[in-house]
């Protein structure tokens, strides 16, 4: 469904420290800075880009917005969360753990805000 997602950040080195730690915890690569200063991650056929906003105003997280990153086990969700907290992110919502979701699904979820305030979810479907 998604070709790419772009999130705003005013401090690209802080974003790189955070996303290098969290994306590698999920088996992905470290990011690279492209020729126009954008931080880019390519993994599993998807693209993730962090850049300073085009309108010159401060980057802000969307209220109501969440970007979910796919983990391969509950342990990987825990590792993603710990890596994020250690690399400048903020733990939010309930601690990492099991949730009973709609449709009878059981999920293992964790939540973080990145250094710019974007809300993220580490996601693993147990059943």
């Amino acid at each position: 469904m998604f070709s790419h997602v772009m999130l705003g950040a005013d401090d690209i080195p802080a974003a790189k420290r955070f996303y290098d730690a969290t994306i590698t915890a999920l088996g992905g690569p470290e990011g690279t800075i492209d020729e126009i200063g954008r931080l880019v991650y390519e993994h599993a056929g998807s693209r993730f880009v962090i850049r300073t906003p085009l309108n010159g105003e401060p980057a802000t997280g969307a209220n109501g917005g969440t970007l979910g990153f796919l983990a391969h086990s509950p342990e990987e969700v825990d590792a993603w969360h710990a890596a994020g907290v250690a690399a400048g992110g903020t733990a939010i919502e309930d601690p990492p753990g099991l949730r009973n979701a709609t449709g009878g699904r059981v999920l293992y979820l964790a939540y973080l805000r990145d250094p710019a305030g974007n809300k993220l979810c580490g996601f693993y479907r147990v059943s």
């Binding site: 705003g8 997280g61 109501g64 796919l70």
Partner: protein, 127 residues
Amino acid sequence: MYSHMMVGSNDIDRSKQFYDATFKAIGGREGIKDDKGRLMYLHNGGAFLVTPPIDGQPATAGNGCTIGFAMTPEQADAWHKAGTENGGTAIEDPPGVRGEGTPNAMYLAYLRDPDGNKLCALHRIQQ
């Protein structure tokens, strides 16, 4: 890389009109409303959700945030038209080719949803 993407809405029925129209324009289906009043769109292996913010504050778009959907050029045109006719706003350049003749050539279209979330339709043109 992504499990899901969620955006905030200040009027779920208004959002449903927009997202039903834009997803159906690209061969997708209407959204399903869950027991928390959130809309879910499942398409091409991904999940896109629309929700009232859980903090009771107005939904806002993240500054610097863009969500990109993979489409063909024909789908991108249909998606853009359906969006502008159902409460969305055309932004950036009109749908079309960017970087023609270069390795990064793409067909792109942009919209804001009724709550201001910035969306992109992207097709990578193979050389």
